[in-house]
Amino acid sequence: MGGFFSVAAAVAWRQVYKYFTNPAFLAPAFFPIFFFIAFAGGLTRVGDVPGFDYAGGYIAFQYVWALLQAVSMGGAFTGFSIAGDFENGFARRLMVAASNRSGIILGYTIASLVRVTTTGALVTALAVLTGMPVRGGFNFFGLVGLAVLVNVAATLFGSGVAMLLRTQQAGPVIRTPIFLVLFLAPVFVPLDLLAGWIETIARLNPFTTILDAARGYLVGEPAHGLTAYAIGFALVLVFALWAILGLRSAERAG
């Protein structure tokens, strides 16, 4: 077990060092910040639509989606890093040297969390600066907890794909499903105001429950919090198995 944690710590330290010595580590924050500015700035009047009943207003409504997008993309970018490590040969040397290879996954996951702490803080600071009210008090930590689960699930998903494909061409395979899950949810208006096929899909999308609960935590009116956490933990479990499957595939490939 000691090997598991020492490998995890070594991988995490290397990744964190790489992040903070290269400004590109902020890249996962680009699109969430951009979408936040474009949607919260350009679509504010959508908050006036009859039936739009979110207590925090439109900026807060968009902030939660942007934050969850930032942490998801942080997970995806960790997958890109792993794919890059396979292409440049580092991952192969790491696999040979590691006394417990499962620790590699944990290491990348810890590093991903450190990374999104920075990018998430950036998105949050921007939202507060643009007038987002934070009314939920300690409930805000409910939102943070869900963001952590989303990041871990996305990181494990990206790790699994990267280890299965072991090439940077895995990028779209990691990014596209994450983008789809994010956009096939109530992005612009609450679920009850959606129309057509997207309403049906959004109701089936497990991310919708997490997004709704996270928005609730922000304004101190948590709804479906337990369900959201249960979904979050289930996603982490499923994608942990997926990442281990990827690791075993990489081991077999040698």
Partner: protein, 257 residues
């Protein structure tokens, strides 16, 4: 333009079109992604049509300009990346050793963009009408929409060519994608300018020429024939084309010098 140059342009244009057609992933992405985002936006923001003063009956009609503009952007990035690949792979240098004039490469590439834009315009209009988009200006308006879209694609394609010729790097061209994306979203693409509440955003959208391209196309869908919107739309498209092609020609001269 002599017949010799025309022949050269035709040969490069054919190569450009064939190269795109032989990459199904590029064709599918160019057709699928803009329509997917359109569909998500149209249904996701359907409620926005209830904002007092909203100019269209449905948000779907209002949002129909989105895939057309976005598709032009994708086409520009694809064509720019192809040109950069030609430079990276040495094709451009080998070409300069032949009697073929370098300008033929640029014009041929742009002809490829026009062909892709034409295909996208026709496909999007067909799918849009099938989805329920009501084009108020009728069949003639649809033709004008395709013409304007092709002009927009040509303008964006010129910008892609400048990037490719200046950098000679596929990565550099593709990394410009977010900038184009920002330019599209910081316009009146999602709401009419008079319904944008944030003053700074309305200002950015007003000085952003993409707003006028969007509003030109949109006017044909939701209003019918609006001379002012069309004049501004075609004027902006012409301005972008002149600047982009002028810049591309200058970059070409620098590259072959």
């Amino acid at each position: 333009m002599g017949p010799s140059l025309l022949t050269q342009v035709a040969a490069i244009a054919q190569r450009s079109v064939l190269r795109t057609a032989r990459q199904p992933a590029v064709v599918v992405s160019a057709l699928l992604f803009p329509m997917m985002f359109f569909s998500i936006n149209a249904y996701g923001l359907d409620a926005a049509a209830r904002i007092p003063g909203f100019p269209a009956d449905t948000y779907m009609d209002f949002a129909f300009a989105f895939p057309l503009i976005q598709a032009s952007l994708f086409g520009a990035i694809t064509a720019g990346a192809d040109l950069a690949r030609d430079i990276e792979s040495g094709f451009f240098d080998r070409l300069s050793l032949t009697p073929m004039r370098p300008v033929a490469l640029l014009l041929g590439m742009l002809a490829g963009i026009v062909a892709l834009g034409l295909l996208q315009g026709v496909v999007f209009l067909t799918v849009g009408v099938m989805m329920g988009v009501d084009v108020r200006s009728g069949l003639a308006g649809m033709v004008v929409i395709v013409v304007l879209m092709v002009l927009v694609a040509l303008g964006f394609g010129g910008l892609g060519a400048i990037l490719a010729l200046r950098t000679g790097s596929v990565e550099a061209v593709e990394s410009a994608f977010p900038l184009f994306f920002v330019a599209i979203f910081m316009s009146s693409i999602n709401l009419p300018r008079d319904l944008i509440e944030a003053d700074w955003f309305r200002f950015v959208a007003t000085i952003n020429p993409i707003s006028y391209l969007v509003e030109g196309i949109r006017s044909l869908v939701i209003t019918g024939w609006d001379a002012q919107a069309l004049l501004l739309g075609f004027g902006c498209a012409a301005g972008i084309i002149v600047l982009a092609l002028g810049g591309a020609a200058a970059s070409l001269r620098t590259r072959v010098a």
